[in-house]
Each structure stands twice: as C-alpha cells, then as structure tokens.
Subunit: 103 residues, 2 copies
C-alpha cells in the first residue's frame, strides 16, 4: 500500500481553511481520482513535541493507493485541476511525500 | 482522536534502519505506553511529489490516542527511555507533530 502525504508547513502569515479542505477539496480530489483511492485521512495541527510549542504543520492530508503507478496514473491527469483549488483554502505551498506503508 | 506523528527529515548522510524501527523500536514504545495507544502506523519514504525526486522524510511513525492528555500522561514518564533508543536506528533528529484527526 502507498500513502501520499500532503503536508502544509506552518508559519507566520500562513492560513488554512480546514472546513473548505474537508468538505470541498478532499471530496473533489477523491471524486477526480475515483476507485484508485483506497482511503483518505485529514489531520489538523495542534502542536509540536514540546508543551505549548506550535504545530510544524497546519494540516496534513493523506491518500492511499495500491501502488505508485496507481497514484501516478490517477493523479497525473488531474494535477492541474487539483492544484488550481489550493488558493481557495490556503496560501501554503505543500510538501508532498510518497511512502510505502510498513505497519 | 489525536495523532502524534514522528517525522524523520531526509538529507545527505542521514541514516534510518527501518527493520530495527518496525521490529524493535515501535513495539518497545507501544509496550511502554500500554493501553493509551489506540493504533500505530509506520511509513517508509519513497519519493517526493515530482517524479524521481527524493522523499522529504526518510520515515514517518504515527501513534493514535484518545486525547492530548492521554498522550502526555503516557508518553511523558517514558520520554527519556524512548529518546535513548533513537541512536540505535537513526542519526536524524525527528520533527514531532500533534494533530487532531478530522477524517
């Protein structure tokens, strides 16, 4: 199983509309990618490792696929449309990580 | 539900022993924290968002708890022992994120 993580680094002046992300963006992406998506999770940053420290990431979104090929084949043709929606909920340039699920 | 993510940033000269992490470190942490841990996942970094780009993170480990208090109360007394195991599998200083699970 492959996990594609979209991490939104926190910082001064950074904004993130979690309501739009959960209710509009993620459903739109799931609809575009269709059956190749095996699962989706979303997390809202609360803090860092030390008490009262800021969260390194404002938000994290994760999509699961059967393989890297399944991700690339479904995401590739929709990249432009997906990226064009980002300004509707954030001014953060996300960090993207493709991982193999071990546990 | 609370997700505590331990992210190991990639970089030149950085090492990470995934076998030790999955088979020794994560079970040790789960044993120390006991019933407060509601789930654990581990991911191995494969790449970034662009084809053939390096993974931003060598590895990511995630623990799930019912609340921030449940995390702090179980992790706090074991922090020293857990951190002392890090040099056994990596030379990376991890980034820790505490998040609220939205989806």
């Amino acid at each position: 199983m492959i996990k594609v993580s979209v991490l939104y680094p926190n910082g001064e002046g950074k904004t993130f509309d979690m309501d739009y992300y959960c209710n509009t963006h993620v459903p739109m992406v799931a609809g575009l990618l269709g059956d190749s998506v095996k699962g989706a999770t979303v997390e809202n940053g609360l803090g860092g490792g030390e008490p009262d420290s800021p969260a390194p990431f404002a938000a994290m979104g994760n999509l699961y696929f059967d393989s890297v090929e399944a991700f690339e084949n479904s995401f590739g043709p929709n990249t432009e449309q997906i990226m064009a929606d980002l300004p509707n909920f954030t001014n953060i340039e996300p960090t993207i990580q493709v991982s193999e699920v071990m546990i």
